[in-house]
């Protein structure tokens, strides 16, 4: 019995390793791109808000509305709706790299809102003090807002990363592979509960490790 299980696991281990790498690849690259998009958006959301250093309510409302629209799409629909855009961007609509486009588009507004809420926690008095010292808008963003909010941004990125791992399970729809796809193909379609359980165990471990690492980093940077 145990022997059978071991043989079975050995036989699918190449697939498991490949799927794990695909999940990791999709998640890491998507989170990086989503942060590159989402952090500036979050910063703009905050500084254009009422009473902030670059108050501009028109920009603020429009940007907020666009972000809300993207956030209200269920990921599976976004994945399909973005097919033409993906083709334009990466030249193909299937495969792991193609899955990164919708994952990024789904995660970026998420990051933007996370960054927004972290930056809003920054003490208004500190911003006032920086203005009084003659700091420019850029200096306030780079030297005050982002460093002061760093622990919150790290925790937000952790949550985003875990959400992206969840989304990436749907990447199989466009042939993106990954652990979720493996679980669907073997575990669900072929009733192979060993594969199903194994992928779940791997995902649980990955999520735990990411969350712990995120907490560790956030604590390290939290000087309060």
């Amino acid at each position: 019995m145990l022997n059978d299980l071991f043989t079975h696991l050995t036989s699918i281990s190449p697939e498991l390793i490949k799927a794990s790498w695909e999940t990791l690849y999709m998640t890491v690259v998507s989170v990086i791109f989503a942060s590159l998009l989402g952090v500036p958006l979050g910063v703009i959301l905050v500084i254009t808000d009422k009473g902030h250093i670059k108050e501009n309510l028109a920009v603020n409302r429009v940007l907020g509305a666009i972000i809300n629209i993207f956030r209200s799409y269920p990921f599976i629909i976004l994945l399909l709706a973005l097919v033409p855009f993906t083709r334009l961007l990466v030249g193909t609509t299937i495969g792991t790299t193609a899955a990164i486009v919708p994952l990024t588009v789904a995660a970026a507004p998420f990051v933007a809102r996370m960054v927004e809420s972290s930056l809003k926690e920054v003490n208004k008095g500190v911003i006032e003090a920086s203005l009084a010292m003659g700091a420019s808008t850029w200096q306030i963003i780079w030297k005050v807002l982002l460093p002061e909010a760093l622990p919150g941004i790290i925790l937000g990125t952790t949550i985003t990363t875990i959400a992206v791992i969840g989304y990436s399970a749907m990447a199989g729809v466009v042939g993106g592979g990954g652990l979720g796809d493996l679980a669907v193909r073997y575990g669900y379609m072929r009733f192979d509960s060993v594969v199903m359980v194994t992928t779940v165990i791997i995902l649980v471990i990955v999520v735990q490790v990411i969350q712990s690492f995120g907490n560790f980093l956030a604590n390290k940077f939290n000087k309060n």
């Binding site: 003490n123 008095g125 500190v126 006032e128 003090a129 920086s130 203005l131 009084a132 010292m133 003659g134 700091a135 420019s136 200096q139 030297k143 005050v144 460093p147 002061e148 760093l150 940077f221 000087k223 309060n224």
Partner: protein
């Protein structure tokens, strides 16, 4: 020389409901090297006033000159440069929690583009000046309130400001810490000949370190002058209320009433300021005018280095002698108030 010159400054906040006049034609002048205090109850407009000096609040109308430069006409870039020469400290310190004490003081220098090596020298010197040389590597959360304000002061001095603005700088501190921060400010004022403009709601702060004071009420300056004058002769009722929070300028009613009813002679109140407080006035009166003097009540106080006090005395003798005695006191330059004439 005038460091700050404010003329007809008016600030109106407009909201959906209507408008609030936070400042109403405020004018004041702060001379080089002086500590100028603005006192008022909360909502009087103090905060708005001090924030107009470095344009954190944009005035609705009026003129603000700092070191001769008109602040209201500067563009954004010019304003940033001008602000570097106006230090500011805050009630809640407003330090960057993610930076060490050293890096907090270095912050304004980084902003002005000062080279690294120079920053290190300067910050080390400033931390020495405020007595925090051993805390350079600490984070603000590891400091007490008084230490945080010292960091705030060092930070405000980093760019060698021409004026230091203090926004309720001691209001969040306990009395002992307040005294040490006030002593530090006075020390800096003397050592660096630094002009200080401060707002506060505590008369104690004014009496301990300020040279001049303005009383702000409902956006208007209702009284202004040298601290010693305002304290000894407050004119406006609000000023009197402030002065009485720390010194007794009036005789309490429960003491005054029975004395006035009981006494038979002429009862007068004599106020002394400065040197006259040390003169042997009473014995002179007795010898010169052949009257008896009964001291009913008295106190003496000190504002910074000037002693001042008040005596309530009863003159007993002939009516004309008593009157001559009062005239004599007036000639000496003392402030006399006759509470009850001789019978």
């Amino acid at each position: 020389m005038l460091v700050i010159q404010i003329k007809d400054l008016t600030k109106i906040y407009r909201s959906g409901a209507g408008e609030v006049k936070a400042l109403d034609h405020v004018s004041l002048r702060v001379r080089k090297g002086e500590i100028y205090g603005i006192i008022g109850y909360s909502g009087a407009g103090k905060s708005t006033l001090i924030r107009c000096v470095n344009m954190l609040e944009k005035p609705t109308s009026g003129s603000i000159k700092v070191n001769g430069q008109e602040m209201t006409s500067l563009n954004e870039g010019q304003l940033r440069v001008a602000r570097r020469k106006i230090g500011m400290i805050f009630q809640h310190f407003n330090l960057l929690s993610s930076r060490t004490v050293f890096d907090n003081v270095a912050f304004p220098l980084e902003i002005s583009g000062v080279p690294k090596a120079e920053i290190k020298d300067k910050v080390t010197r400033l931390l020495g000046l405020v007595g925090l040389a051993d805390k350079a590597g600490a984070y603000p959360s590891q400091l007490s309130g008084g230490q945080k304000q010292r960091v705030g002061i060092a930070r405000a001095l980093a760019n060698d400001p021409i004026v230091l603005l203090c926004d309720e700088a001691t209001s969040a501190l306990d009395p002992a810490t307040t005294d040490s921060i006030l002593a530090l400010l006075k020390d800096i004022n003397r050592k660096l000949d630094l002009t200080i403009l401060m707002i506060t709601h505590e008369m104690k702060v004014i009496s301990e370190i300020c040279d001049s004071v303005a009383v702000l009420e409902q956006g208007k300056i209702i009284e202004e002058g040298l601290v010693i004058d305002v304290f000894t002769q407050p004119k406006h009722p609000t000023t009197r209320r402030f002065v009485q929070t720390i010194i007794q300028t009036d005789i309490p009613d429960h003491i005054k009433k029975p004395l006035l009813q009981r006494g038979q002679g002429q009862i007068i109140r004599v106020s002394f300021i400065g040197d006259s407080a040390a003169e042997p006035v009473i014995s002179t009166l007795v010898k010169k005018f052949d009257i008896d003097i009964n001291i009913l009540y008295g106190n003496i106080d000190q504002i910074q280095d000037t002693p001042f006090g008040m005596l309530m005395i009863e003159c007993m003798g002939s009516r004309s002698n008593c009157h001559r005695a009062v005239d004599y006191l007036r000639q000496l330059g003392l402030r006399i108030e006759v509470l009850k004439d001789a019978e």
